[in-house]
């Protein structure tokens, strides 16, 4: 997935993205990091075509994102949002079946067999008939991930997927994303936890005020000065036994 001089402004607002050019390597986990208001979620929305760039181009497999039909795009790109709204009661299986709609006609019914693999992949097989409102936050997040995987996408976009998860489920999710990337899926996510981002990613995008400050491997971007400038706060990188380098924010001195 590649961006060429992508520019976007929200109507009537100064915030947006300015002249973004860069690549998301295929089959890798890329994490977009940056302070609040840097444009991370906006970038994800542009990548999923929920927003249209004012200028520039986004390509997927050398084909402009705008040239895909809605159904074709849904077969290529899946999204797991930070928050999901459900307006009426649904079972786990019913939600996951929605992920298969890009492969069916408008009047088709998705069979239970068709989603069995995605339920198993996300450890939801036993909860298939459970109602979503009865599940924990972590279980619900797995349901939305299963729906996205059911789309059989080439690119999986996740907006702060760990926000509502406890430490254990954060770990489980990140392990799962890395496994999916090894199987060829391109994972692009937004994370607020900078150490988690450095630990789980193959590639990083560092944004600030709508601009791409730096892009590279975690080893390339693990620079206290670069991060301090991007986050506008004093940062140090310390060595933690059995954990390795750890990024910490240090209190500002007068």
């Amino acid at each position: 997935m590649e961006l060429q001089q992508v520019r976007f402004r929200y109507p009537g607002q100064a915030t947006g993205l300015a002249e973004l050019t860069g690549t998301f390597p295929l089959g890798k986990v890329t994490t977009i990091i940056g302070p609040n208001g840097a444009g991370k979620s906006t970038l994800l929305k542009l990548l999923s075509r929920q927003l249209q760039a004012d200028q520039g181009s986004i390509t997927l497999g050398h084909k402009a994102l705008t040239s895909y039909s809605a159904k074709q795009l849904a077969q290529q790109v899946a999204v797991v949002s930070q928050r999901h709204e459900l307006y009426d009661d649904m079972t786990v299986a019913a939600v996951v079946k929605m992920g298969r709609l890009p492969y069916h006609g408008l009047f088709a019914t998705v069979s239970d067999e068709e989603i069995a693999a995605y339920l198993e992949q996300t450890q939801l097989t036993d909860l298939a008939d459970e109602h979503l409102q009865n599940l924990s936050g972590g279980q619900q997040q797995r349901v939305w991930l299963a729906m996205a995987l059911a789309q059989e996408p080439r690119v999986l976009l996740l907006d702060e997927p760990t926000t509502y998860l406890d430490v254990h489920y954060q770990q489980v999710l990140m392990t799962q994303l890395r496994r999916l990337a090894r199987q060829g899926l391109t994972v692009i996510q937004v994370l607020h936890d900078i150490n988690q981002a450095f630990a789980v990613s193959d590639w990083l995008w560092l944004l600030r005020a709508g601009k791409l400050v730096a892009t590279g491997t975690p080893a390339q971007l693990r620079q206290a000065k670069l991060l301090a400038q991007a986050f506008a706060t004093p940062i140090e990188i310390v060595e933690v036994p059995r954990l390795g380098p750890y990024i910490v924010q240090v209190p500002a001195t007068d």
Binding site: E85, L86, D88, L106, G137
Partner: protein, 323 residues
């Protein structure tokens, strides 16, 4: 759950058959089962005329109207994502009534004007209702709908004052076989369409942004279901008149009995709505014999308190936001 659903379907079918049999027999004249069998061979008898020309068209019409109104309500609730959305309280029915009245006054020569004008009225009301932010704000939707309803009721009164044409009370009294056939054709077409589009109503349980990311044509689905709901509602209004609350009472009770899946909910609402309408009409024409209470009045008396209880208790599913 499936077994449980099966029982409720069986229950409503038994209830429906029993009420149909009872409705054939009761009225100003009691015609018992023995006499019913007798009159089959006496087509010139008074009881035969009562059953076949008065009661049967009325029974069939009320069944179709009840099923249509219940399904129209369920479809509106799916699209507006609001458990009390219903064409009767959102001004669709009263707009249809007003345009129907306009047709009588302005184009009395136009064939099929009742249905055509009622449909036009319903679509105009729908267009007004879906402008602005009403689709995204459930409270705003209801307030605009109630205002729209009051406006069209007022306009009907204004236009009909001093005229011979009036908005007549909605009743199945004096329903003819012509009315019944019209309702049957219009209603069955709409109900078949609703069964076909039931999965679309399920799709709208997800937010528009989520639906877009899975390639679902949200606008096409939303407008198809809205127009189908409007069609079902105005078809009843064109022939019988506006009947309130069936579309709120039935789908909300149905959700508690058979769950929230529209592929189950719509057929169940169809049957339960048909039963409720027939039961209300049969009760209305037998409690104060030889006079009668109109179906609309009966439904207002039953449905009004139901909506109040539904809103005051605040039970049922009104959506969740998950991480």
């Amino acid at each position: 759950m499936m077994r449980h659903v099966g029982w409720w379907f069986s229950g409503v079918i038994v209830l429906l058959v029993a009420t149909i049999v009872l409705a054939v027999m009761v009225g100003t004249t009691w015609i018992g089962p023995h006499r019913l069998l007798q009159i089959l061979s006496q087509p010139a008898s008074r009881d035969f005329v009562t059953v076949f020309n008065l009661r049967l068209p009325r029974i069939i019409s009320s069944l179709i109207c009840g099923g249509s109104l219940a399904v129209a309500g369920a479809l509106f609730q799916a699209v507006f994502r609001n458990p009390i959305a219903d064409p009767s309280i959102l001004g669709i029915s009263s707009a249809a009534d007003f345009f129907k009245l306009g047709g009588v006054l302005l184009v009395p020569w136009l064939p099929g004007r009742q249905w055509l004008l009622a449909l036009l009225g319903g679509v105009v009301a729908l267009f007004i209702l879906t402008r602005g932010r009403a689709l995204r704000d459930p409270y705003r939707l209801i307030i605009i709908g109630v205002a729209l309803d009051a406006t069209f009721v007022g306009l009907s009164r204004l236009v009909s004052s001093g005229q011979t044409a009036q908005v007549l009370p909605s009743t199945f009294n004096a329903t003819t076989w012509t009315d019944t056939w019209t309702l049957l054709i219009l209603g069955l077409l709409g109900l078949l369409g609703a069964l076909l589009l039931a999965p679309w109503a399920n799709h709208l349980k997800l937010a528009d942004t989520a639906l877009q990311t899975i390639g679902v044509p949200v606008k096409l689905i939303r407008w198809s279901l809205l127009l189908l709901g409007t069609y079902l509602d105005v078809s009843v209004t064109a022939i019988v008149g506006a009947i309130p609350f069936v579309g709120i009472v039935v789908p909300n009770l149905a959700r508690r009995l058979v769950g929230h899946d529209y592929q189950t909910l719509l057929p169940f609402s169809m049957l339960a709505g048909a039963w409720l309408m027939l039961a209300a009409d049969t009760l209305g024409r037998t409690v104060i014999v030889p006079s009668e209470i109109s179906a609309a009045t009966m439904m207002a008396v039953i449905g009004g308190p139901f909506v109040i209880i539904l809103l005051q208790r605040g039970r049922g599913f009104h959506g969740i936001t998950t991480g």
